[in-house]
């Protein structure tokens, strides 16, 4: 594996050019994103440069705009459900794939990973066609299904290495000691793959939360947050409130990551 124990042995001289490049890169990466908070305090509806004065009124208005919170709530609901289900299914699938000799295993894995290698629009279209032929009305459930398809590969991809890298003799030992399959899973397997489970939950939640394409095709009357934002992008009356909400989400992420870094340094291994 890589010589992580010896990070400094190879490259001792800092490469100035590369350092400058890295800094410029980060700046260019962040600037467009930072425009969102910037225009959320802009004192005008139109997003135009330069800024016309600073105000916090859009944040105030945000509280009053029910539609925004409804959309956010919908996204969180769908995201949580999709995260949990896809992680459970991913865990089960990862275990089955790594522990059992399944005929057609590689075909199976390929199938699961398909959404990663096919543009989302095709899945959106395919599911829309299916739902309409089956007469299923579009709703948050159909959106959830769409998200599930798209998030499952991420769950499996996250958990598979965990199961693969995990010594099966632990499970054997537990079995030898008289535990049945279920118990073994909970007491032995699960704690070992727990970081993978958490990672999968978060990854799938994030995916579902920001997912637009499937939602676009499969949304009924209740919009998810990206769908709502799309509507506002085209007709910017309420747009600044949306910017305010996004800024809040970005801000909270920043803070949490910062805290986690601090806490992380106090005990978790790198």
């Amino acid at each position: 594996m890589s010589s992580r124990t010896d990070p400094g042995t190879y490259i001792k001289r800092p490469n100035r050019a590369l350092q400058i490049y890295a800094v410029i890169f980060l700046i260019v990466l962040y600037v467009p994103v930072l425009f969102i908070p910037l225009f959320s305090i802009n004192d005008a509806i139109h997003v135009k440069f330069p800024i016309e004065g600073v105000t916090l009124r859009w944040y105030g208005e945000l509280w009053a705009r029910d539609a925004v919170w409804t959309a956010l709530f919908n996204s969180v609901k769908v995201g949580l459900v999709v995260a949990v289900i896809s992680t459970i299914l991913g865990t089960v699938a990862a275990r089955a794939i790594t522990r059992y000799r399944l005929p057609g295993k590689s075909a199976l894995v390929t199938f699961i990973m398909m959404p990663l290698v096919i543009p989302g629009i095709i899945f959106g279209v395919a599911l829309l066609v299916l739902m309409s032929r089956m007469g299923v009305p579009l709703s948050l459930y159909t959106v959830g299904l769409g998200h599930l398809i798209v998030c499952l590969p991420f769950a499996v991809a996250t958990l598979l290495p965990r199961f693969e890298g995990f010594d099966p003799s632990m499970e054997e030992a537990s079995a030898d000691l008289g535990e049945n399959g279920w118990w073994t899973f909970w007491r032995v397997t699960f704690p070992m793959v727990f970081p993978g489970v958490v990672a999968s939950l978060l990854l799938t939640f994030t995916n579902s939360f920001d997912e637009f394409i499937m939602a676009f095709f499969l949304t009924g009357t209740d919009p998810t947050l990206p769908m709502y934002i799309w509507g506002q992008l085209r007709f910017p009356q309420e747009f600044p409130s949306v910017l305010a909400l996004s800024s809040l989400i970005l801000f909270i992420s920043f803070i949490l990551v910062f805290i986690a870094q601090r806490v992380g340094r106090m005990g978790l291994d790198d």
């Binding site: 139109h46 135009k48 990663l116 007709f235 809040l248 949490l256």
Partner: protein, 373 residues
């Protein structure tokens, strides 16, 4: 699979610590939304939903509704009538929708709508009769399918300081090669194609002929290289005109009125060939979840208060005759409106209902032209 390994390694290696991080984040988002749980309960299920064009989802035309129900209705917005119809045919259920007269018979044909009991619409008696008596609007028992609400024109809004007029105002302005890449247009065929027909000199009676399609396609293809962008969003066009990015664009009345109010030197052209004119109104979905509040929406929209706003601030005509009493004559003249809709509507080219096959063929052709073919 190498890709999978990569992804797996990425997620696993990177996230073993990020796991903790993101757990907090997810928890954070969840907790942030929990206190809102209470607010959601009082939610969106209760108020009626108004499915309408961008720009109409504002409180100013819902004062009476708010007075009666305490809150604004829910809004859902579309950019083109066809988009709205497709969505509803796909199962999207609303209470009140906002089509225009040219689409109304087709909307009725879908069977998704319910005739409106005029007796339950407050102020219906004051509505200008010629707007009610549109082809296809009469339903059984004296009811109507569509309650007229607003009427107006599609024409050219142009910068008087940047656009050098050669002769009279005309649709040729949007085909002026001097201003290539500085012209804009609404992207929906529902407006653009008809304006193309006017420019090509095709009579609306003959729209459904192959000859018409050939002529109008030619004209639209000629225009395409000159257009900076086609958009469904009137605000984009307004901003472009305000900044000078565009010098002329095909818009509705409200864009010109709003820009003038902001102090931008624009004029809503009265083209010599005639503007495109239309009447739009409100239809009720047959499965409307809140029929009583749906009537409240309709009543609110045709009320005099809303009418005054619509005329004075947006520059559209209103269907309630009494709204015009609130506006001084000079202002009406300034806006290019009249108490009698017929003056304006028949002076221009009034859009008329076409068959669904025609609409689909038109949209398909226009989308191809927009894409460059």
């Amino acid at each position: 699979m190498d890709v999978v390994d990569q992804l797996g390694a990425v997620r696993e290696g990177k996230l073993s610590r990020r796991a903790f991080t993101k757990a907090l984040l997810a928890a954070g988002v969840a907790t942030a939304t929990v206190p809102l749980g209470a607010r959601q309960a009082r939610a969106t299920g209760d108020q009626a939903t108004y499915f309408t064009w961008g720009g109409y989802d504002i409180p100013d035309i819902f004062q009476p509704y708010q007075a009666k129900n305490g809150e604004l209705p829910n809004f859902s917005v579309f950019g083109a009538s066809e988009e709205a119809l497709t969505k509803m045919r796909g199962g999207f259920v609303v209470d009140v929708a906002h089509p225009c007269n040219s689409g109304m018979p087709r909307w009725v044909q879908t069977g998704l709508f319910h005739p409106i009991d005029t007796g339950r619409v407050e102020g219906f008696g004051d509505i200008i009769p010629s707007l009610v008596d549109l082809p296809g609007n009469a339903a059984d028992g004296g009811n109507v399918w569509m309650v007229p609400f607003d009427w107006g024109q599609t024409s050219v809004t142009y910068r008087t300081d940047l656009f050098e007029l050669e002769g009279e105002e005309s649709w040729d302005m949007l085909w002026d090669k001097r201003y290539a890449n500085k012209l804009g247009s609404l992207g929906s065929g529902g407006d653009a194609w008809w304006c193309g027909a006017i420019k090509a000199g095709v009579n609306f009676d003959d729209l459904d002929t192959d000859d018409a399609f050939t002529k109008i396609s030619a004209v639209m293809r000629e225009q395409r290289p000159l257009i900076r962008t086609y958009t469904d969003d009137t605000t984009t066009l307004q901003q472009a005109l305000a900044s000078g990015e565009m010098v002329a664009a095909m818009t509705w009345n409200d864009s010109a009125t709003l820009l003038k109010a902001e102090g931008v030197p624009v004029k809503f052209a009265a083209p010599k060939e005639g503007a495109l004119t239309w009447v739009c109104g409100l239809m009720m979905h047959k499965d409307a979840p809140n029929p009583d509040r749906a009537y409240d929406i309709i009543s609110s929209l045709v009320s005099v208060e809303s009418g005054k706003f619509l005329i004075d601030d947006y520059g559209y005509g209103h269907s309630n005759a009494k709204s015009f009493d609130e506006i001084p004559d000079e202002r009406l003249a300034e806006l290019g409106l009249s108490r009698n809709p017929d003056d304006i509507l028949s002076a221009g080219h009034f859009q008329r209902p076409m068959s669904q096959d025609w609409e689909t063929r038109m949209n398909e052709t226009f989308e191809q032209i927009k894409a460059g073919f």
